[in-house]
Amino acid sequence: MRLLTHNILSSNIKGVTNGFPLGIEVEKVVEKQVEINHDFLRNIFPKIDWKAFSDASKIMGYVELPEEAPEPSVLDSDLDFLRKFHHALLELHLEEGALVCPQTGRKFPVNKGIPNMLLHEDEV
């Protein structure tokens, strides 16, 4: 699971009003390189919840991202930032661990990079 995916995931348990962002429990992180696409990053950037993203990247062991979201213009001028953004967003994978509902503490397992978000009968 990449952090871009984490940025869209939310707990959908019955009764939960604030299911985002999910907490992360890390057992194994894997880095897999992908080609950088500047246009893609520029378009994706405004959609990201920066706080959730930057907090999650720290949990995954990557501390290079700024706390505050930079101005969008930085994406055109600062190649270094772009590379870091790309790396944290797309190249870090949570292979083993869990995602945690912020309201109930319920854990959604992540195995072989696959989160299982299925709910039990009593959670729907």
């Binding site: 699971m1 990449r2 871009l4 995916t5 869209i8 995931l9 939310s10 707990s11 959908n12 019955k14 985002f20 696409n37 246009d39 893609f40 990053l41 520029r42 378009n43 994706i44 959609k47 072989k112 990079g113 696959i114 989160p115 299982n116 978000m117 299925l118 709910l119 009968e121 729907v124």
Partner: protein, 410 residues
């Protein structure tokens, strides 16, 4: 849910317990049935009679005193889907995936038309056929079947195990969502509606949703006759590497359903009076021109619930071990002649205008385009929806968009 189907089973069995009925006369009461041939099923006489509205308040008949029917959420998976969708796909996943390579042009065109940086959500992605189709977009696939998701992830895609009726995504975050040949595996109208609501919910205002389902409607109604074989011979024709088509192999499918109490309701997919009424209204509108109205039962009501067989070759079946369990529990049957384990998949085939009706009922979505695709040996009804925040402007905007949208979406 086990509770749901057992209750429904008792309701029906009690009815059957009072007299021997031919399935044809049972049709007269409006229950959709798979087969026009009856199989007598001996059942215990039930002491309770309780109709369940799957996702609403229980409607308890006067007979039912000592039993309480709890209300079942629309997000709870009915037993028929667990047995004839979930477990089947889990068992056939690799084989199924190997037959799923052809990309439908309309879906590919839609995905290729999306702007760079789009977040695309594929709900019910199966083997991930469409994930990453547009390399400038970010795809997240989800499916209820873990083996199928494993196939996606092994290919390098981003995928997770989730339920299309309850997507684990933030509201209004995606740019586009697709649901390709998924909704017809949901066994109640409320669940199908919920799945559509979820697709619209997860997409931003102004985003696009593409849904395709198997449907009976055809631009050319005469094709309907060719499309519905009742004999095993016809089923065999389409058993090859191409997608198995939706058919009504009526006598064939009933034989492959074991005769247990639960499966005694094999002919009766709907378990509520509410959906019974819907069926009756719907079939009143359907009036096929063809002579061989095999999709329509004797009294003019349309058949929409089907089991469609999947033949899993023996050499494929050994791999998962799931087939051994399936055979032991009666979920699947051996066909030594064909050298395959035969599973049944549940389908609700959409009727004329049905998908359109479901979508039109939504305040915050508008149909932009719809068409049929006969290229995949069946009829496919495809809709685009544009989501707006201003429902009072719906019609004006719709007019504009329909003018601008070309079929190829380029």
């Amino acid at each position: 849910m086990v509770f749901n189907s057992l209750r429904a089973g008792r309701y029906i069995h009690r009815f059957w317990g009072t007299s021997t009925l031919s399935l044809d006369s049972f049709c007269a009461f409006g229950y959709p049935v798979i087969c026009s041939r009856m199989k007598e099923i001996k059942v215990k006489d039930a002491s309770t009679w309780c109709t369940l509205v799957p996702d609403g308040e229980p409607h308890i008949q006067s007979v039912c005193e000592d039993h309480k029917c709890s209300s079942v959420s629309v997000k709870s998976t009915p037993e028929i889907e667990k047995k004839y969708v979930h477990r089947v796909y889990d068992a056939i996943a690799p084989h199924f995936s190997s037959t799923r390579f052809a990309k439908w042009p309309k879906v590919a065109a839609f995905l290729e038309s999306l702007p760079t940086g789009s977040l695309v959500l594929d709900a019910g992605c199966g083997n991930g056929k469409y994930l990453g189709l547009n390399s400038s977009c970010y795809f997240i696939g989800c499916d209820i079947s873990p083996p199928l998701i494993k196939i996606c992830v092994d290919k390098g895609h981003e995928a997770l195990v989730a339920d299309a009726v309850n997507l684990p995504y933030r509201t209004n975050f995606g740019d586009a969502a697709i649901s390709i040949a998924v909704l017809h595996h949901l066994s109640t109208e409320n669940r199908r509606k919920k799945a559509i609501e979820e697709l619209v919910r997860v997409v931003r205002k102004g985003g696009l949703v593409l849904i395709t389902v198997w449907a009976v409607e055809q631009e050319d109604k005469s094709l309907l006759t060719k499309w519905t074989p009742l004999t095993e011979k016809h089923v065999e024709e389409w058993r090859g590497p191409r997608s198995p088509c939706v058919r009504c192999p009526s006598s064939f499918s009933l034989e492959s359903i074991p005769e247990t109490e639960e499966n005694g309701l094999s002919g009766h997919m709907k378990d509520s009076r509410e959906s019974l009424m819907e069926d009756m209204q719907q079939s009143a509108c359907l009036n096929p021109q063809n002579k061989d109205d095999s999709l329509v039962s004797k009294d003019g009501r349309s058949q929409q619930e089907y089991f469609v067989p999947w033949h899993l070759p023996y050499h494929r079946a050994e791999v998962s071990g799931a087939s051994a369990v399936a055979l032991a529990t009666g979920l699947a049957k051996k066909d030594d002649k064909k050298g395959a384990v035969v599973y049944n998949r549940y389908y609700h085939v959409f009727g004329e205008g049905e998908l359109e009706r479901l979508v039109s009922g939504m305040d915050n979505a508008v149909i932009v385009d719809k068409f049929y695709d006969k290229s995949n040996c069946g009829s496919l009804c495809t809709l685009f929806m544009v989501e707006f925040g201003f429902s009072n402007m719906k019609n004006e905007i719709k007019k504009l968009l329909v003018k601008d949208t070309s079929p190829s979406l380029k």
